[in-house]
């Protein structure tokens, strides 16, 4: 036995180094130097150990084990890079993103710690192992036991993978109470990869289940989202997904954006920094001054998911709709709902990026858009330049100018969806934005020289600001086009940020937030969402009367000791804290301080358009409903509210401390916090999250089985989509 261990010491060293490399990889991605469920990784390594022990020659073992260590290092490195770029752990659906991910290599953030440790370990093993092999005695092998042992270990590995995945998404409510990590500390990188590969290949399917139950849930009359406003079939809708838009791009606030703008306004004869910023971003401020502003809006997704949620209102788990279900019938999208109620409407999507990126060219048509126009088509239009060949982002202004006729037709009603790109990272000098650098220079806003970390961060913000200016001009063009075409008074315009500026951790730098230990962590994901509606009067009246009455009624229902006058006063106080109505030089501004997220966009737009929909098919709620949503992030498998960031209720990464009023919490500026108790908040969140997960479960069944495209069980002459149209018309 002693001889067995001594003569095979090379293999034990290999095993130790494999564990070291894996744990280092886990450490750099999750700050933990352990793996919670290491069985998959260990069984894989045992299998390799047995194979190595069966090899009779030390030299062959050394070569094989060295190659394996290099392979593991490369695999870990690839996933670390993916993690550093996307902040998400690998899931099977990412295989579909591989081509798009390589289209422009934004950066290759190789972690130096992992690189140094693994390179050192492997090079020492190769060099000194090679020398050892030349002098070592012949090893004791496990010839006769090799194959049976390997079979046993492989069986164990298969069983483990099966047990991990056999209940694939059968009960998504489990997400709310799981104890697992949503990080590589759960299975390790190699273990996670194997697990995801097996899950995606063999288990990724959700059964349709009881169709009648699904239909009853979908069309439940207990949860119809009734519009609070008059139906207006003349309203056009323009939704603009503004890539990486953040408040700090055009606002100065030392509490919220500690490393944001710091303009020496008095040197330029101004009374405040805002006056200068209004010069630099006139259109964003004009829009801000005259729209419904969701001050407490959050997004924590990748662009393609944000995009889908903002016109679909839901999203299944473990898949990417664009790749996994591009041809599904999607009855409940905004284009399809609008078309169901108005056959004459035209729905078109525009993006000044690549036509096939995120497989948009297929998926958007399935989602109900009549056309999708991207760079390849825009290049043929006058005034549009494709800057991507020069390594720069295309200009949003040029997209608007080139496509205005198609975006804003005057001869029919339209729903136009615009996805911008100029503000996409990385943020470096761009020739096509030079004019904005010159404008900023007039107010002393300039880049910093040098290679220091401070200069790097400062310049990221500086170059980002110029990108925001470009979008500001594009927004100005949109509003001008609508005005020139006489469409301003019957068009709803919604713009929102798809996610925070995570490129080069710009958002972290500007907001001074590093990790979940920071006191206002969820602020990291607070991004703009503003909706300009022609019916601001209607909205204002609703908020001042109907909503107060509704809230008073529900307060009395909760506590029947309340008299109506007290209830009305309480309701008025809550409503006036949640919705602040201002009169500005540009018009009426309504600040909505209720927590909102991307999933709330679709219900809000339906609400403002006077359209009633079946609430169980949409994750979010209208801005004008009393119910507050919980954000579940498909990309990050995490739940968020403005006070919490959690993997599950048993694994809360961040929760706001009690008594924000006493702590001068900056959240008070934009959130509707009158009183706050963390335990009460958790209770409320649990209730809403459960409802969300019920909807999510149904959403999975719908998508995984292309439910809307199937024949209806009660009327097989029609598809479920056709039944949906009939049901929709019944309530409108």
């Amino acid at each position: 036995m002693k001889k067995f261990f001594k003569s095979n010491s090379l293999i034990w060293i290999y095993f130790g180094l494999a564990i070291l490399i894996e744990l280092t990889a886990v450490f750099v991605t999750s700050d933990k130097f352990y793996i919670r469920s290491p069985l998959i990784f260990l069984l894989l390594q045992f299998m390799i150990l047995l194979i190595l022990l069966a090899i009779p020659s030390n030299k062959a073992r050394h070569i094989t084990s060295s190659l394996l260590l290099v392979t593991f290092m490369v695999v870990d490195l690839v996933f670390i890079v993916i993690f550093e770029m996307t902040e998400t752990i690998f899931d099977y659906g990412m295989f579909n993103l591989r081509n798009d991910g390589m289209a422009i290599l934004e950066s290759v953030p190789i972690n130096f710690t992992f690189f140094a440790v693994s390179m050192l370990a492997i090079s020492l093993y190769i060099v000194f192992g090679g020398r050892y092999v030349r002098h070592a005695e012949k090893p004791v092998t496990i010839k006769f036991w090799a194959i049976p042992s390997i079979i046993v270990v492989i069986s164990g590995l298969c069983l483990t993978l099966y047990l991990n995945n056999r209940n694939f998404e059968s009960d998504v409510t489990d997400k709310l109470y799981r104890t697992s990590e949503a990080s590589y500390a759960e299975y390790g990188i190699i273990g996670n990869f194997l697990n995801e590969f097996v899950k995606g290949t063999f288990f990724a399917h959700v059964e349709l289940g009881d169709e009648q139950q699904l239909e009853d849930f979908a069309y439940s009359t207990d949860n119809i989202y009734q519009s609070n406003f008059d139906a207006n079939e003349e309203y056009n809708i323009v939704t603009i997904l503004v890539e990486s838009l953040e408040w700090h791009g055009f606002m100065q606030d030392f509490d919220l954006f500690v490393n944001g703008y710091d303009i020496n306004y008095s040197a330029y004869g101004y009374d405040s920094a805002e006056q200068i910023l209004r010069q630099l971003y006139p259109n964003l401020y004009k829009f801000y001054d005259s729209s419904i502003v969701m001050t407490n809006f959050y997004s924590r997704e990748k662009t393609d998911i944000s995009e889908n949620i903002s016109f679909l209102g839901s999203y299944p788990t473990n898949v990417y709709i664009n790749y996994d279900f591009p041809n599904n019938t999607m009855a409940t999208t905004m284009p399809n709902v609008l078309k169901a109620l108005d056959e004459d409407i035209t729905c078109n999507s525009f993006h000044n990026g690549s036509y096939t990126y995120y497989n948009r060219n297929k998926e958007l048509i399935s989602a109900g858009f009549d056309s999708y126009t991207a760079t390849e088509q825009m290049k043929k239009m006058e005034g549009f330049t494709d800057y991507s060949a020069k390594g720069e982002r295309n200009l949003d202004t040029e997209m608007i100018k080139a496509c205005a006729d198609k975006m804003f037709p005057t001869n029919q009603r339209f729903y136009t969806y615009i996805t911008t790109i100029t503000m996409h990272g990385q943020y470096t000098y761009r020739n096509n934005l030079v004019k904005y650098y010159d404008e900023m220079e007039k107010y002393g806003i300039r880049s910093m020289k040098g290679d220091s970390f401070e200069a790097f961060n400062h310049n990221n913000f500086y170059y980002y600001s110029a990108c925001v200016m470009e979008f500001d001009r594009a927004l100005g063009l949109v509003m001008q086009e609508l005005e020139d075409r006489g469409l301003e008074d019957n068009t709803i315009v919604c713009l929102f940020g798809d996610h925070n500026t995570y490129y080069s951790s710009l958002s972290n730098y500007v907001k001074g937030i590093d990790n979940t230990k920071d006191s206002n962590y969820t602020n990291l994901f607070r991004v703009p969402c503003m909706i300009k509606t022609p019916d601001m009067v209607g909205v204002t009246n609703y908020l001042n009367t109907t909503l107060i009455d509704e809230l008073a009624t529900s307060l009395v229902a909760e506590d029947n000791t309340l008299d109506s006058t007290t209830a009305i006063n309480m309701a008025r106080e809550q409503i006036s804290n949640r919705y602040i109505i201002n009169t500005t030089s540009a018009g009426t501004q309504i600040l909505v301080k209720k927590f909102m997220c991307t999933a709330d966009i679709v219900p809000t737009l339906f609400d403002l358009s006077g359209i009633n929909v079946y609430g169980n098919l949409y994750f979010g709620h209208s801005a004008f409903e009393l119910t507050t949503s919980v954000l579940y992030s498909r990309a990050y498998d995490i739940f968020i509210t403005d006070n919490m960031y959690f993997v599950s209720l048993n694994n809360i990464k961040y929760i706001r401390k009690d008594n924000p009023l006493l702590n001068n919490d900056p959240a008070l500026k934009y959130a509707d916090i009158l009183t706050y108790d963390s335990e009460e908040h958790i209770t409320q969140v649990e209730i809403e999250a459960k409802k969300l997960l019920d909807k999510l479960s149904v959403c999975n069944r719908i998508f995984y089985n292309d439910y809307w495209g199937r024949k209806n069980i009660n009327d097989n002459t029609k598809t479920n989509a056709q039944i949906f149209v009939e049901k929709l018309r019944e309530i409108n």
Binding site: L105, F112, F128
Partner: protein, 224 residues
């Protein structure tokens, strides 16, 4: 130290001079730039220049090796060293000499990995391809650099007999292509390349004047 008049040393010095010229002969590749400019909007010029440079250097290496055989000049590992293992202290010192500059240079560029820095922080796939070709072409250039160090070392050792090992190759490498690259090429991290040219020669000495390990380690230092 004793000075020996050995006319054989002239062969090595002439060889070193030729190699030095060859190191900068890749400028000939610039003559082809107008041709490459028409291909794919000129985005592949860097790649073609790198490939042409690699071919030019490769041909030069071949010619030099052929000439060395004819003239019985030994710039590669001496026959007495072939097949012999390096001693443990040599391996350890070489490790330190290789790892340390990698750590120092990473610290200078905000703890990024140098190969990533060299390949480009924000590039298109075409840009990445061009940068990869440049990096790979440098591997061929490195062969010439090590041959230069080797021939200088051997040449001077023929003249100056001493019990001490003086890194003539390292010193001349520093004074020649080290300084030339510093002033002419205008690369980022050029101070690094200047100091490292000295290190290449030292690695050659520590490795026991073995060509292949020196080439591998020097290229790794350049790469990482």
């Amino acid at each position: 130290m004793t000075i020996v008049k050995d006319k054989n040393c002239i062969k090595y010095f002439v060889l070193a001079g030729v190699i030095l010229l060859c190191l900068y002969s890749n400028s000939l590749a610039d003559l082809f730039i107008p041709i490459f400019d028409d291909i794919y909007y000129g985005n592949l010029v860097k790649m073609f220049v790198a490939v042409t440079s690699a071919i030019i250097w490769g041909v030069e290496v071949g010619l030099i090796v052929f000439a060395c055989k004819k003239l019985t000049i030994d710039v590669f590992t001496s026959k007495d060293k072939k097949g012999k293992e390096m001693q443990t202290w040599q391996v350890i010192v070489l490790f330190v000499l290789t790892i340390l500059p990698m750590i120092i240079i990473s610290a200078c560029i905000n703890w990024k990995v140098k190969i990533v820095y060299a390949l480009g922080e924000r590039v298109t796939m075409i840009g990445l391809l061009c940068n990869v070709c440049e990096v790979l072409a440098y591997a061929v250039r490195m062969v010439l650099m090590v041959m230069f160090i080797s021939s200088i070392q051997k040449g001077f050792e023929m003249i100056f007999k001493t019990k001490y090992i003086i890194p003539y190759g390292a010193i001349l490498a520093f004074l020649t292509f080290g300084l030339i690259d510093f002033f002419v090429l205008g690369m980022d991290l050029r101070v690094f390349y200047l100091v490292v040219s000295l290190l290449y020669g030292i690695i050659y000495i520590v490795s026991g004047k073995r060509f292949l390990p020196t080439w591998i380690l020097c290229y790794l230092i350049y790469l990482l």
